[in-house]
Symmetry: C2
Subunit: 123 residues, 2 copies
DNA sequence: CAAACATATGAGCAACTGTTCATATGTTCA
DNA sequence: TGAACATATGAACAGTTGCTCATATGTTTG
């Protein structure tokens, strides 16, 4: 039986013995569907220019909802909705101080993910 | 005039002198709108589970359209459309060999971006 | 407590997205 | 050249998303 190495081209679409075997190998290497789904969900959060702008703003300083709204020229409501999404995905955390709520980056992961993306875009 | 340091909370929503100044600072630090838009567009590409699965498959081996379709249980057409998107964003490149077209990762950037995301998801 | 303020939330709508279906393009081989 | 195959593309439709508007929640202060 022919067993191509890991990095050789797979045999293509007509039905053959080899074909399904190698497909199975790749299938086995794939992470669970659920995990891949979650990963896509995470990137979806970065995939909106308003949210990206919010994150970049928070790279500079902790900010409250109203200031961010001011900064980006959007409604307080719009920003609050987006912050909710960011918070739900643990990219941002909130700290209440009296009436105002200050948002900041949840961790440095966010910076590095965005940074990697930016490198790719700026090439 | 009061000038808070870079990492102090900004003054909030009522109109004050300080307020607009600090907002302006953050505004100046933000990359151009166009660049942020492109960055969001890039992440949008990662933000779909089909495309993520395709990329993960290509982590293992160069593959043709039909095999990927087989692997993921989707139409050849669906996969071709998604590969188009991936290619347009330079995440993937194509190599024709007779009738079949083999797709592979465009560069290692892709791996590291996806990897960073995966780390965040798996926490 | 009531008024003022900052934020959060829900409904609704316009715009966008991923898939399928039908079909076109490109390649090989008899 | 024509048939068979692999891929690409366009149209259309269902599902999703981000914004706005109206309003609710939570906090401070008179």
């Amino acid at each position: 039986m022919i067993l191509p190495g890991q990095n050789e081209p797979l045999e293509c679409c007509e039905e053959r013995e080899v074909h399904t075997d190698v497909l199975q190998e790749v299938r086995d290497a794939l992470p669970d569907d659920e995990l891949l789904y979650d990963l896509a969900e995470l990137f979806k959060v970065f995939g909106d220019s308003t949210r990206i702008k919010i994150l970049y703003a928070l790279f500079e300083a902790e900010m409250c909802v109203c200031d961010i709204a001011n900064l980006l020229g959007l409604t307080q409501s719009a920003i609050s909705h987006q912050l909710r999404t960011l918070k739900a995905n643990k990219l941002v955390r909130a700290r209440r101080e009296g009436k105002t709520v200050y948002y900041s980056l949840a961790d440095q992961h966010v910076r590095s993910i965005v940074g990697q993306g930016m490198e790719h875009v700026m090439e």
